[in-house]
């Protein structure tokens, strides 16, 4: 947790190489894969947002798809039928809607603990799902189309044409980097430590003087906002929103990404998202029963590596003291999550 003391070259070398590869990708890969990676990165943003509350806050939320979907719906509703909507006001509006939903749900759900928190968030998520599913204003169960990608204009000049897959990819990549930077800052800050302390021992955190409810609510709202950013870009990319975007199925899938990637790092869930989506893509091409195969592989991954794929990575790279320290606590922490999964 106090990583700044010893500067291991691996801590900046690996991310730099990965970023360079990500920047080079659209220049070498076919358009289909550029779009595919955009989608995977967006899911990575969603998974990282969830991990702020799950991994660092110890709060297993099953309604993050709702924050994701609401932002998407805001874009759909705010977009004129034949013209693009401006990103400058639709993105803040979409994120504001997610923030409002996260604040309202968080304020109520965070009064409960453990399995009850999971149930309450699940219930709120489903309420929002059925709100969009059964109402007429946003296309009901059919969903709604977004015919044009948002415009990025300054005066009359188009800064970026998001209809171009490459431009879109770079905007998503920039968002991803910004989200990683933001989450890393939060996790290392006094606020982030207070959040993790409340996860480890809530009673102790409170008796030391930390306002645990406020800390958790703040993290929940930040997390909802980031999920909203992901939802906005997902909706814009697919050109379509449907109630499934808000459903518990997606919430659970994102939770699996977090588990695969590991709970103890900011970027782990991104790895989890890439692994899961990549796996889907490969299996779809191989077999009709890809869902079955995927399920079995996920169970194997989670069982074999309680700390996720990242543990594998640190085993491969050789474990420095820092890595060993990160691995150890997570194993103990994997238990409550697994128990929660049974219930």
């Amino acid at each position: 947790m106090s990583g700044a003391e010893k500067r291991d070259p691996r801590t900046w070398l690996v991310p730099t190489i990965l970023l360079a590869l990500a920047i080079a990708l659209p220049f070498v890969a076919p358009t289909y894969y550029v779009q595919f990676v955009s989608k995977a990165l967006i899911m990575g943003i969603l998974a990282m947002s969830l991990n702020l509350v799950v991994g660092y806050g110890g709060l297993v939320s099953l309604c993050h798809a709702a924050f994701f979907g609401i932002a998407g719906y805001v874009l759909a509703l705010a977009s004129p039928k034949y013209d693009p909507a401006s990103l400058w006001w639709t993105l803040p509006l979409a994120v504001a809607a997610s923030v409002a939903a996260a604040a309202a749900i968080g304020a109520l759900a965070l009064r409960t603990r453990g399995i009850y928190f999971i149930m309450v968030t699940l219930a709120f998520g489903e309420m929002l799902f059925f709100l969009f599913h059964d109402s007429k204003f946003a296309g009901g169960s059919d969903g709604a189309f977004i015919y044009n990608k948002p415009s990025v204009m300054l005066g009359n000049i188009t800064l970026l044409n998001l209809e171009k897959p490459m431009a879109y990819y770079f905007v998503v990549l920039a968002m991803l980097v910004a989200v990683i930077a933001l989450l890393t800052m939060i996790v290392r800050s006094p606020f982030g430590h207070a959040l993790a302390a409340a996860r480890d021992n809530e009673r102790r955190a409170r008796s030391l003087g930390f306002p645990v409810f406020r800390v958790r609510l703040t993290s929940f709202i930040i997390s909802g906002a980031i999920a909203g950013i992901a939802g906005y870009f997902a909706a814009a990319q697919f050109g379509f929103v449907a109630p499934q975007m808000l459903g518990w199925h997606l919430s659970a899938t994102v939770l699996v990404m977090v588990l695969i990637g590991g709970l103890r790092s900011v970027a782990g869930p991104l790895v989890g998202a890439l692994v899961l989506i990549g796996l889907e893509e490969v299996l779809k091409a191989l077999t009709e029963h890809w869902k079955l195969a995927e399920g079995l592989i996920i169970i194997l991954i989670v069982l074999a590596l309680p700390n996720g794929v990242r543990q594998l990575l640190s085993m491969v790279l050789g474990s420095s003291e820092e890595n060993a320290r990160e691995v150890q606590p997570s194993r103990a922490d994997a238990k409550p999550v697994a128990e929660a999964g049974h219930g």
């Binding site: 290392r188 800050s189 006094p190 480890d200 955190a205 103990a332």
Partner: protein
């Protein structure tokens, strides 16, 4: 003794009811700066409930609690902590996945000027770092600072608890059975540590170890069945007939 100075912590007519059970009934006591006030009594006497009432972990059914003359009866635990009240728990209550140093730093951070800053590394606050180092040193854990708390020995974890309390710079310290489950040599260390705490602070300690209590206490309160049955200087309380009865002959009395 500072009998004429106002009490750092004062409880008046405290009562706690759990359904039909009255765990604490009409308890009044003072804790003064510079002294150790020990609370003893048989199991189920309501000592832990009393500490939880004072720290805010439980809300009293009746009565009031004053901290330096101001009413804190309705304050939540975190607010009481920020007002200068620190406590340890009977069962070790630490952050098991953080190192000893990080545990103490969290305690110091909770009382820093901006404990919930979202930017800047936690290790960059100089004042917090100093309070952390001081508390670790006073508690005798300086050499164990880098160990993850769950790997510390039981005695060290109890020391760590006290270090965490110290790092919050409290004026009043509540210790709930600080010697519970300790071996003799470990207990010796912690008794000396507790004795050093009263300098400039008020200390209330609940403890079963009578040798430690009579060594440490400047003032002694004895509880039984939720009531205070005696309170005063240790040598006076020791010979009090009500206390002897509570500890030796409750059945005789009932028969």
């Amino acid at each position: 003794m500072a009998d004429n100075s106002p009490a750092a912590l004062r409880a008046e007519g405290l009562q706690k009811r759990f359904g039909g059970l009255i765990a604490v009934s009409d308890v009044s006591l003072d804790v003064h700066t510079g002294e150790i006030h020990a609370v003893i009594g048989p199991n189920g006497a309501g000592k832990s409930t009393l500490i939880n009432l004072l720290s805010g972990d439980l809300t009293p059914s009746a009565g009031e609690i004053m901290l330096n003359g101001s009413d804190i009866t309705r304050f939540a635990p975190d607010r009481r902590a920020r007002a200068g009240l620190g406590r340890s728990y009977q069962k070790t209550t630490i952050f098991p996945q953080f190192t000893a140093q990080e545990n103490v730093r969290l305690a110091a951070q909770a009382h820093a000027t901006s404990p919930l800053k979202m930017f800047g590394n936690v290790t960059s606050d100089k004042l917090v770092n100093r309070h952390t180092t001081d508390a670790l040193e006073q508690a005798g854990l300086a050499s164990r600072a880098r160990i993850i708390a769950t790997h510390l020995s039981h005695g060290e974890q109890r020391q760590l608890e006290i270090a965490m309390v110290l790092a919050t710079q409290p004026q009043i310290i509540l210790l709930d059975e600080p010697l519970a489950g300790m071996g003799q040599s470990e207990a010796r260390k912690v008794v000396d540590l507790i004795a050093s705490l009263k300098k400039g602070r008020a200390v209330l300690v609940v403890e079963h170890d009578m040798d430690a209590v009579f060594e440490l206490a400047d003032r002694l309160t004895v509880m039984a069945d939720g009531h205070v049955i005696a309170s005063g200087l240790p040598q006076d309380v020791r010979v009090d007939p009500a206390v002897r009865l509570a500890y030796l002959g409750v059945e005789e009395d009932a028969a």
